[in-house]
């Protein structure tokens, strides 16, 4: 097929492709356009593309981290800026840790022949089966009551003295608490997808490095890691996406200072009077990292997605 000239296809197919593209992107475009409109323009009903674009919504959303005062706002009610920093910290830290831990485990599974690949894919499927809502109750209970340091103990006492606060020092309400759940949720998938990449690294390379006197850790970091970069990229995107987008567990585990962006969006949506412009601007800000990944790494994403089913 490849050496014959592609025969001209019926224009109808192109019409379908264009229509599908419009349908896929349309709602996101609507959000983008509205995020630059004032609420008056959004609700006025004239609609359409004729309006004065403004970045006021973005300014309102980020009012707590902007270096300058805003004229249209006397009080900064929405603390989206802080939430963005929380989201970023949580997503990046959990992605990096998941990758490191997952990589090591995948390497051990492949090279030291622990359990077959079947075990990893069965675990992946089992974990994928567990909805976040199912984890909500136990995680809430455990993180609040069990995973705690006694406030009179050595470390707990130190933390209470340095950072203040009351009661025992618990995981709930901290960044680390949320990060821990995300790592656990993503690990099986990351291990499983990295396995399929590590299998392809030729063993001779590692043996050569070992002959030159490199220890197992050096072999792993200097030889294996650089060779599985595409797999790492796919795994990183999927992990980041979950940690960045997740709402339910974060809302159960966070306190006033560790709220992430999805939580604030949901809270502001349940109010009676939705400020559409500002909320769209926030939604847009939340959507930007995944959109960038999609545009620049769509091939890795498709690899990660199809690996699940096509290779099974």
């Amino acid at each position: 097929m490849s050496n014959t000239i592609a025969k001209r296809q019926h224009p109808g197919f192109y019409a379908i492709v264009v229509m599908l593209i419009i349908m896929a992107v349309g709602p996101i475009a609507i959000m983008l356009i509205n995020s630059f409109k004032l609420d008056v323009d959004i609700t006025s009903g004239t609609g359409g593309l004729i309006f004065m674009p403004t970045i006021q919504n973005y300014e309102t959303a980020l009012c707590d981290i902007l270096p300058y005062e805003l004229d249209h706002l006397d009080y900064c009610a929405l603390k989206f800026g802080g939430a963005f920093i929380n989201s970023l910290v949580i997503a990046i830290v959990s992605t990096v840790l998941t990758l490191i831990i997952g990589c090591m485990a995948a390497y051990a599974l492949v090279r030291f022949k622990f359990m077959g690949r079947d075990t990893a894919s069965a675990t992946t499927l089992m974990v994928r089966m567990v909805p976040p809502a199912v984890l909500l109750v136990p995680v809430f209970g455990l993180w609040n009551n069990e995973f705690c340091l006694d406030k009179d103990g050595l470390i707990g006492g130190f933390i209470r003295e340095t950072f203040g606060g009351r009661g025992d020092v618990c995981l709930a309400g901290t960044h680390s608490g949320i990060i821990l759940v995300y790592i656990a949720m993503n690990l099986p998938f990351v291990i499983w997808i990295l396995q399929s990449f590590i299998v392809q690294v030729p063993r001779q390379l590692e043996e050569a490095a070992r002959m030159d006197g490199a220890g197992p850790f050096q072999v792993f970091f200097k030889v294996v890691l650089p060779l599985i970069k595409p797999g790492l990229a796919a795994a990183a995107i999927f992990t980041f996406r979950i940690a960045w987008n997740e709402y339910l567990l974060a809302s159960a585990l966070s306190d006033r200072d560790t709220k992430t962006v999805p939580i604030l969006i949901v809270n502001n949506m349940s109010e009676f009077n939705v400020e559409w412009g500002v909320i769209m601007a926030t939604g847009m800000l939340l959507a930007i990292p995944p959109i960038i990944f999609t545009l620049f790494a769509s091939r890795q994403i498709i690899t990660g997605m199809t690996a699940g089913a096509v290779k099974g």
Binding site: M1, K7, F13, Y14, I16, V17, L20, M23, A24, P27, I28, I30, M31, T43, G47, I101, A105, Y107, A108, F112, V127, R128, M129, P131, P132, A133, V134, L135, L136, V137, P138, V139, F140, G141, L142, N145, V181, I183, L187, I191, P216, R241, W244, N245, Y247, L248, A252, P262, I265, V266, M269, W276, G283, L286, P290, F293, S298, I301, T306, G312
Partner: protein
């Protein structure tokens, strides 16, 4: 310690962090949930202080019409979403499996709805469904039709439409990948034998794609039971209980009604449902593979 025994320890060192974290943050919580589902437990107590009530939570739920309604809504949502998405996704893949310009762009842009946060998807659709300023009703009005009460009377349908928008691309992309990895020889042979396009699809392409399609369907079905944020933002489960899927009901029981024991029992019901579904699909897949293998053997013997 000798050098070789250190070497034998390395695999365990490499595995340890992953095992510890998964035991601590996945296995232990799940066990904790099962334990908690037998107790009368509210958020202010530690689990140890709560009283043991046996199967009471399960029993109460079983007889609770609201819970049953919620199960029905969940099943209705998951089954219709998966069926419609499979039909459209596979149909589009079969239709567009040809050399077309713009296909790679379509695949890239098609991923967008899946990648952006479910919260954002809910937000956009809630805006588009808005009774007066939403694009759907505005369009209907401008062509002289009656506006539709999207998130009121037709809430479940509207939620299903939003999910179809978000997840049909997933099935399309997987089905397309499956199509493009089909053995060329079978297709050539069929073409030479004069099979029409339709015959090729029904007798060759679909049967060969079946294993992939079943796994895709299973993955999608599992995910459909996990949907929560999109519906939470769009309807908050309302009006009434019309869109309150199980995941949403669990979170409301835990946070609003503060009945952790009941919520835990509900989570268990959901898990059992998913487990049964998964086992059924996998068994079916095995059976299909077994049948295909036998057919091949028979064909080989005859040939």
């Amino acid at each position: 310690m000798s050098n070789s025994s250190i070497n034998r320890l390395y695999p365990y060192v490499f595995m340890a962090p992953a095992l510890v974290i998964m035991a601590l943050a996945l296995l232990y919580p799940l066990g904790y949930m099962v334990y908690g589902s037998f107790r009368d437990w509210d958020p202010s107590q530690a689990l140890g202080e709560s009283t043991f009530v046996g199967l009471k939570n399960y029993y109460t739920l079983w007889n609770d019409p609201n819970f049953r309604e919620s199960v029905a809504v969940t099943l209705k949502f998951a089954l219709s979403v998966v069926t419609i998405e499979m039909v459209i996704g596979v149909g589009l893949a079969l239709l567009l499996d040809r050399k077309l310009r713009g296909m790679s762009m379509l695949r890239t842009l098609f991923i967008l709805p899946m990648m952006i946060a479910p919260v954002v998807v809910g937000l956009v659709w809630r805006y588009m469904y808005h009774p007066t300023i939403g694009i759907f009703n505005k369009t209907l009005k401008s062509i002289g039709l009656e506006p539709i009460d999207w998130l009121g009377q037709n809430a479940l349908t509207s939620v299903i439409i939003a999910d179809i928008w978000q997840w049909t691309p997933f099935i399309f992309i997987l089905a397309l990948a499956a199509l493009q990895s089909l053995p060329r020889s079978a297709l050539e042979a069929a073409r030479i034998d004069g099979a029409t396009g339709w015959q090729q699809i029904v007798h060759i392409k679909l049967p060969l794609m079946m294993p992939v399609l079943i796994v895709t369907c299973l993955l999608r079905l599992i995910d459909a039971f996990k949907v929560l944020e999109v519906i939470l933002v769009m309807t908050e489960g309302g009006p009434g209980l019309s869109t309150e899927i199980l995941a949403l009901r669990i979170s409301r029981t835990a946070t609003e009604f503060r009945e952790l024991g009941v919520a835990a029992a509900m989570s268990n019901y959901l898990l059992i449902m998913l487990l049964v579904l998964t086992v059924c699909m996998l068994a079916y897949n095995r059976w299909m593979e077994y049948r295909a293998a036998r057919a091949m053997r028979v064909a080989a013997e005859i040939g």
